[in-house]
Symmetry: D2
Subunit: 433 residues, 4 copies
């Protein structure tokens, strides 16, 4: 009885707080004085943070409807500009179209803790998008502003190692998305002299890595992930023997920054730094998962029309036919394949990745799309590279090396955008019939 009363009171309370938050936002948008606006923004952010999930959802809906640009106003401004064609009429038009929520967010961001709150707001809006597609325009405004605030020119690249404060390393353990870190001993192996971990930070979030990349310094291009993570293996400290820098893991720490492409530039920056530090490095590559391979093959592969010659296609179909009975099995356990079957599986995988497209014209592997669009070369496909159950399930244990030739990154990227994927000779030979 008492509990019900308390709940009812809480509901009423939330309603009042939401109303006050909206009132604050209305005031904030109108407020011409900057000094005063920081106080209002601070009050509004505090209020927002006390809202429960339901009230926050309601707040996001209000962002969509209440702080939309006004169509009549736009129409008038456009008509006026068509007539006058003056700088002033253009300024007027631009102002009329910009959704007022953009200015609202910019003003909330005047409080120093504002950026962190806005990033978390976006995370919730992204989650809500499926059930509330009307939020798409709101999300677009968040993405627009966040990509302006989190541009690479504002970010700071930092190397994390065993001298790094514990609370930052703890966040690395939490956020590692590709190859899970099993405690501090596991992490330490990844911070030894022959391993590197770099993260991007934003000045207003000094305690929050945004994205980090893990690198292994090796003698040869790696063909399997287990040796890279093996804690029992002593680190290679002879730096002259480092020939290859292998990027074996990239993890985003901020779901609210989805679409703000931090990773693209991170790899290139780190590669350039490593090249300076170890002039002996010859190869910069990844050891990457192929998350969509099993699904592609198990559903029956669809080859992109025009990508392969008839001869090539018929061989790919033959490969698939031969392998099909084994596929379910391969996705569950480490089965031993004959050399012929190994060859067939490698070719199917290579052909799948080689037809990756920059657009939606064909089903593409997301990791492949990321690296190829980033200017990498599809270098080598590795069987038995990841024996974990996740690795078996998503790609029959296969992994791939994308190689970054620093001098050709721009050129490869442009080729990819205009329809041609950069392939190593080995891959080309394997596919060519």
């Amino acid at each position: 009885m008492f509990e019900r009363l308390k709940a009812a009171r809480e509901v009423a309370n939330q309603k009042t707080e939401l109303k006050k938050l909206i009132a604050d936002c209305d005031e904030l948008i109108k407020e011409p004085g900057q000094s005063v606006s920081v106080g209002i923004a601070s009050r509004a952010l505090n209020r927002y943070q006390k809202l429960d999930f339901g009230s926050r959802s309601e707040f996001y809906s209000q962002l969509a409807t209440r702080y939309e640009p006004n169509i009549e106003h736009i129409t008038r401004a456009l008509d006026s500009h068509k007539e006058k064609r003056s700088p002033e009429s253009l300024i007027e038009l631009v102002r009329a179209v910009e959704p007022p929520r953009q200015e609202l967010l910019r003003r909330l961001n005047r409080v120093s803790s504002g950026t962190a709150v806005i990033v978390r707001m976006r995370e919730e809006i992204l989650n809500a998008l499926r059930s509330a597609p009307a939020l798409a325009a709101v999300d677009a405004d968040f993405e627009h502003l966040l990509s302006s605030w989190f541009n690479p020119g504002f970010l700071e690249l930092k190397r994390l190692d065993w001298m790094t404060p514990a609370h930052l390393l703890e966040k690395v353990i939490q956020h590692e998305a590709v190859h899970e870190i099993d405690g501090w001993g596991d992490l330490r192996r990844r911070l030894e002299p022959d391993r590197r971990l770099y993260a991007y930070f934003h000045p207003t979030l000094p305690n929050e890595p945004l994205i980090f990349v893990e690198v292994a310094l090796l003698n040869d291009m790696p063909s399997a992930v287990a040796p890279l993570l093996d804690r029992s293996k002593p680190p290679e400290v002879e730096t002259k023997r480092y020939k290859v820098a292998a990027f074996y893991s990239i993890s985003n720490c901020q779901p609210g920054l989805k679409g703000i492409h931090l990773g693209n530039f991170l790899i290139k920056r780190v590669a350039e730094d490593l090249k300076l530090e170890f002039p002996g490095l010859k190869t910069f590559c990844t050891l990457s998962p192929i998350p969509s391979l099993a699904e592609f093959l198990l559903k029956g592969p669809k080859w992109k029309s025009g990508r392969y010659t008839a001869k090539e296609l018929s061989r790919l179909e033959a490969d698939f036919k031969e392998l099909q009975p084994n596929l379910q099995n391969l996705s569950k356990s480490n089965a031993v394949l004959s050399a012929t079957h190994q060859n067939r599986l490698t070719r199917l995988c290579s052909a799948y990745l080689a037809q990756t497209a920059p657009d939606e014209s064909v089903r593409s592997d997301p990791v492949a799309k990321f690296h190829l669009n980033n200017g990498a070369i599809l270098e080598r496909v590795n069987l038995g590279a990841d024996h974990s159950s996740k690795g078996l399930k998503q790609s029959f244990g296969m992994m791939v090396n994308y190689r970054y030739d620093l001098d050709k990154v721009e050129q490869n990227h442009e080729s990819f955008v205009s329809g041609t994927t950069a392939l190593s000779k080995a891959i080309r030979d394997l596919i060519k019939a």
Copy 2:
């Protein structure tokens, strides 16, 4: 002969470089890959920095015309949105209206040195505006982006003192705009324990103060500037005797950030910090110049209609009539005034400042407008406060104290915006007939 050839070659060279810069900009706007775009942006900024004054002016014109939004495109997007009213059609419309130069600037800013270059570009555009009013829309875009990047949430407040690196102190000496600093000895007096100097910094410009404020910790509200700067006076170190914090100088260091109101918030932040450090402080005020007073009176004062009663107006006119013969003289030397004349001059000055308006409805003193809009109270007008020739020329040696009552800043600001200036009792009594 040879010189002329060289000059001609240089002209041709500049033309080529400008063309290449435009080509880079075109490419940069279209480029979807972030990693690649940083390389292009870096190249473009290098090219820009090699252009001479004329070519840079031409580049700004191109920003105005080449990277304008397209009106047909806008019209179509608006029609489509009127029909669909969907999030997607809105996103499309917003994109169509945003001037492409905004995205261009955001992408140039992906290079870490980009922000500094963009601030200097804006400085030149502001200078060019008078002769090239068409740049107004370009300037509006710069201001829009810079105010998003230089919002107070991103800025860092730092106290500068004698422990501060010399190169930063040197910049303070260069940029002090109100009371010139005559060398390092002069500066040192302003960094003693009873003086404070605070500056705002942006994370990407760690070596460039953006704006700084100088504060004197005193026993009484100051009525003249000379004692504050007097190097021979020993510092007051008995902190319990600090009752008044007087802001006696605010200087902007970055002309390219004009209109990005950094100062408003700075005073409030510093006042709050000082209050925490010295709980005995009772009064936060300025000792400010009145740059437009002499001009207002010498041209024959215009009183805002409706601001003063008929009785008050007739007394102000009498005051002016009496003083007029002396005014030219007063603006040149430290003349001795009779008590009656002192009273008249004080009243005229007070009445001028008391009619300061937030808009252009009446001629207003810019410093008065800044502080009153910021929520300050017009507290006291001081005769003989600044004996420098600049002080005599602009305000017959008068200065004014604006007082910040931290609890009433918002309220005062709102009154000012709606037409009522906050006045101290002394000022009200003086004006009231």
Copy 3:
């Protein structure tokens, strides 16, 4: 065969290296030029670090014999000084007596890594002392110099928390000597807001904590250790509720600094810092082990003659007689005692600690001696305070609170030195018959 050859060669090699090291040391002592001596010292330290255990032992013996002061020389200098009584003759005498190995160590210390090596040398010499008592004079010289270099005026007190670099926290885990830290999760509990960890550092060893102390901020004086270390208990964050600061662990990290009493001053420094940060703290105490209690009782307690009255003594003897049959059992498991037996055991423990002496006149508990000599009060004895097998074995699970009354530390210390231990009223009452 080959192995034997190799070993023989290694033996010969070690002999050569030792000889060269001695030659370097001879040269170093004679060398007047400081700049040159740093080079020699560096060479000598490198050579030393390549010696095996046996050769290092031989080196320490040489320190004892080869770098001793010369008795004839001393005799002559003393005779000369007796005759002249001049400053010069005194300087000569002081120089004649100082063992040359002191100057040798000072010169080895001119290399920046020298201090660390010398601390490790001392660690080995301390270990060797039992079998080689002749090293006592060498050890005295090491202790003399190290206590000059590691004096509290040179040390830096640092708080370690979750923001501290991981490599330093790892050293805390390794060196915790009182209550073992079981991994990073365990450590983190000890760094929460209601726990504190402070360490002393020397400027030349920035990566090596010398000694650290762990503190719990509590509402009441603690009577058992388990709740302090319990990871499942949420931290108390209401700082106003902190009444007691309990020092529950002090650990030395550098065995080579034995006898350099860093801990004494550390507790007082930390207590003063905490008092400033939390003015509500009323009590500064420890929760300390009693490592020698079981041995004292199991061997049959010896009471210090004159310390207790005949009546008190007879009651202590009665207590012991009653408890004796249970003692073996109590040192192995958590036996339940009757209230009477609890009382007896508490009294015996209190009486044992209360007779702690500053000298060797009676067997004393080392921890008691440390805190009482440091000016603490024997405040309370706690039954069942430490259920670990170590706790049962050394003190039947008992622990003790020593209390630091910051205003009486000097006075208590002086009393203790002159034979009177500071006791709480409760302890006094318990013992008094």
Copy 4:
């Protein structure tokens, strides 16, 4: 009348304070507890700092007499050690001889500000030595301890430049002893990219440079000082052109550290650092004054017997005879000399420096002694190198380059110590008859 009373009271007050200080010192020496001793030491240092000059002098006398070792005690300890020859008896003897003031100073140093006070004490004792030679033994103890605390292994080398905090640069301006710095503009020239300034710091005195050296990076070995200090000359920024690093000024900042040879090692450390940074550097040299040259010649030169052949001597005497009439004049103004006279003066100067001895056997130039003992080569003597009146007065405007050949520093030092000065071929040829 009142003034006299006040003075008398002050005298009495000083006497009381001195007595209390001595009482504190007595207590401090006896105190076994470290924690307690820090409190006493702090009290004693405060008392000392309030003493006037006379009382402090009295305190130093007491250090000499009251805290001397006891001769009877020493005699007994020596007799006992002769008998026992045990480590314990040796320890006892060493303790008996060490002046108790050493332990007193070590204990005063337990307070963190102690080191600075002790350095200033020493400064006063050094000044007092002439009139109070009995303080020599006290001074020896200060020097002994300070050289242990300020050994190069504890010092930190820092480069000072325009990014350095102003208060440190101000100290450089104050302490420059060789070529006066005329304000901040003058200093700035010495911090440009082609100039370097390095200083040594002790961890307990982070705001006090101990000694600093100024270096010019040049194309050729410098023959005059004016071009090095010329503010109007733009800095040479082409680092590949740096062939010579010229140390043109070394200044001690702490008179209390006299005899603690910090400079010797500083030059070598800086040279090694510069060699790493600019591998193109071929020559490390000084441009040094010859402070004693004029005095040597004006008094009539005394040649070291056995240093020069009869033929050489007779030529030196002829040189002197020819030049003598001009010498007074040369020490006052920039007289023009004939080529022959130039040659003669250069030879006399070279011969004077070439006979520099490590001991007191012959009058030697102190700067020459410093560098030659440090392992430098007497490279070149420069006429007209310093036109300042100080330069004319002390050395007829001559300066000298000492060259540091990093590989031969040890060897040259050893030669010098055993009687042979390292000379360049040019100098050798000039002297050789």
